[in-house]
Amino acid sequence: MKSGDISYLTKEGIKNTVANRLMTIASVGVLVACMVVIGLAILISENGDRAIKNLEKENVVMAYMKDYSWAQYGEHDKPLKTGTNGEIDASEYLIHNDEEAQDVCKNIEKIDNVQKVEFISSEDGLKGLTKDMFADQEQYFSSFLNEKHGNPLSCAAKVTMENMEDFDKTLEKIQKIDGIDVIRSQADSAKKIVAIKNAVKIAGAWIVAILMIISLVIVSNTIRITMYNRKLEISIMKAVGATNSFVRLPFIVEGVTIGIISAIISEGLLYVCYRIVSERLVEILGNSIIPYSDVALPLLGIFAGIGIVSGIIGSSIMISKYLRKEGSEFAAI
């Protein structure tokens, strides 16, 4: 095909798109919905990945010890032995004072892969915790403390590891030391984020699959209406010996134009949606949200790809159905 033909046919295709406004708008609408959902799913899962990486960088775990607070608030199989005035018997807990706790810290320090151990007394732990809390929760927390007259936090060792690869092994070794109760790491948060990410991925895939089918149906119907509006031209084209690819190209151009318009609108709309969603994401994932400008270009590429492919497929469905018809049959549809 010569370049003159291509420009002629492209003009024809764009004319069709304009002439067929209403269906074009409908097609663009569904395609945009499809693309925005895809874009949001991508952004959420990318942010999830980034948050998980950030968490993994924090190779710090808290190893809580079996001290008096643990005996009072922790979980126990048997009822506790208590003294005459309700005090818990000293044999019920392993860490009786800060010296013993410091010894545990030293034992942890002996483990390979442990870089640094810092002792956190229960008072320091409580201070740090309330500082991190939001105002309303802090209030609730302090009232809880008043009721119980005590600090529910056990003393702890803040352990920094050298190397994340041996994370699980090192954790096991710390766990085996006498006097250690539970170890809290951010692995739990990472698991939560992975779960959210997977849920978004699965739901997103379904929504996208359904929307893609709808948009193919709509795009192909748009093309069908254009073909119907242009049946006279098509019947003449066939009668004078235009090749099928020549007949087809304006419709493909129309499909692709719809796709490209949708891609551009989606890019803008997603920016707005992302601003709204990112407020929620900040709450879940913390402040390290990916800025839209970082992903704008690749997303536009993805949208353009989706738009062009669905435009081509959507228009081809109808064209191949109708191009089998001959000139006068075409004039009669």
């Binding site: 003449i236 004078v240 010996g241 235009a242 001959e326 004039a331």
Partner: protein
């Protein structure tokens, strides 16, 4: 009576084999049955040579349009062999159909002009869509419009023209790609009777420049007037093929 007519058409083929003329259209034992079971054509044998002007007549439902559609390859024969302009339509692949169509100009009863295009653009459209270069399009469209006497109406819209003028645009469009064969199924069917004569005269003068013309008509007066070869169909069979033309009834 019918049998003798069939024999006659068969002897025609024999003639064409020995005749020096080059056949443009050849039907050998062609039958066409539509999907619903209608037998539209039965054992049609005919040869039309280069430069002939042929009327195809017959009552409604006789199979005239089917005959034309087989030539254009809008329909395919169930049996028999069809050759048109050097193409074997029986063996032809779908992809070759556009090449066959480029050797013929088709004129429609309903004109099939595109309403939103000017006279000029309607004719140019036929060249654009077969990929003709712009410079040639400009030249040939004007030539074709002058040939049908509409050079001064090139900027008119189709709805500003009479039926006869619209059909002349249709003729210009059929001519513009310089075909070897013109196919016209009732080209005067939607034209005033007094304009019909002009239309056929125009086709006749195109024919005199060497283009083969095949035209379906109901108009006996036209057939008598122009004294050309007449092929008469009835119930899907050729019942008369009068090279002299004129008194077919």
């Amino acid at each position: 009576m019918i049998e003798s007519e069939i024999n006659m058409s068969e002897s025609n083929i024999e003639n064409s084999v020995t005749a020096p003329e080059k056949p443009v259209i050849e039907f050998k034992g062609v039958s066409k049955r539509y999907a619903n079971g209608t037998h539209a054509l039965e054992d049609v044998n005919i040869t039309i040579n280069k430069g002939e002007f042929v009327f195809v007549v017959g009552s409604s439902g006789a199979g005239k349009s089917t005959f034309m559609k087989l030539i254009m390859r809008e329909e395919r024969a169930n049996t028999g062999i069809i050759r048109v302009n050097g193409f074997n339509l029986t063996k032809m692949k779908r992809k070759q159909v556009p090449m066959l169509r480029r050797t013929m100009g088709i004129i429609f009863q309903d004109f099939r002009l595109i309403p939103k295009m000017s006279v000029y653009d309607n004719v140019a459209f036929a060249m654009h869509v077969v990929g003709a270069p712009n410079r040639r399009i400009r030249k040939e469209v004007i030539n074709a419009l002058n040939a049908v006497g509409l050079g001064d109406k090139k900027n008119s819209m189709p709805n500003e023209l009479s039926g006869g003028e619209q059909q002349r645009v249709g003729i210009a469009r059929a001519l513009v790609n310089n075909p070897d064969l013109i196919i016209a199924d009732e080209p005067t069917g939607n034209v005033d009777p007094n304009m019909s004569f002009d239309i056929v005269s125009m086709l006749k003068s195109i024919n005199e420049m060497g283009t083969t013309v095949l035209m379906v008509t109901h108009d006996h007066e036209l057939v008598r007037e122009f004294k050309q070869r007449v092929i008469m169909l009835d119930s899907g069979r050729i019942i008369a093929d009068n090279v002299a033309g004129g008194d077919e009834e």
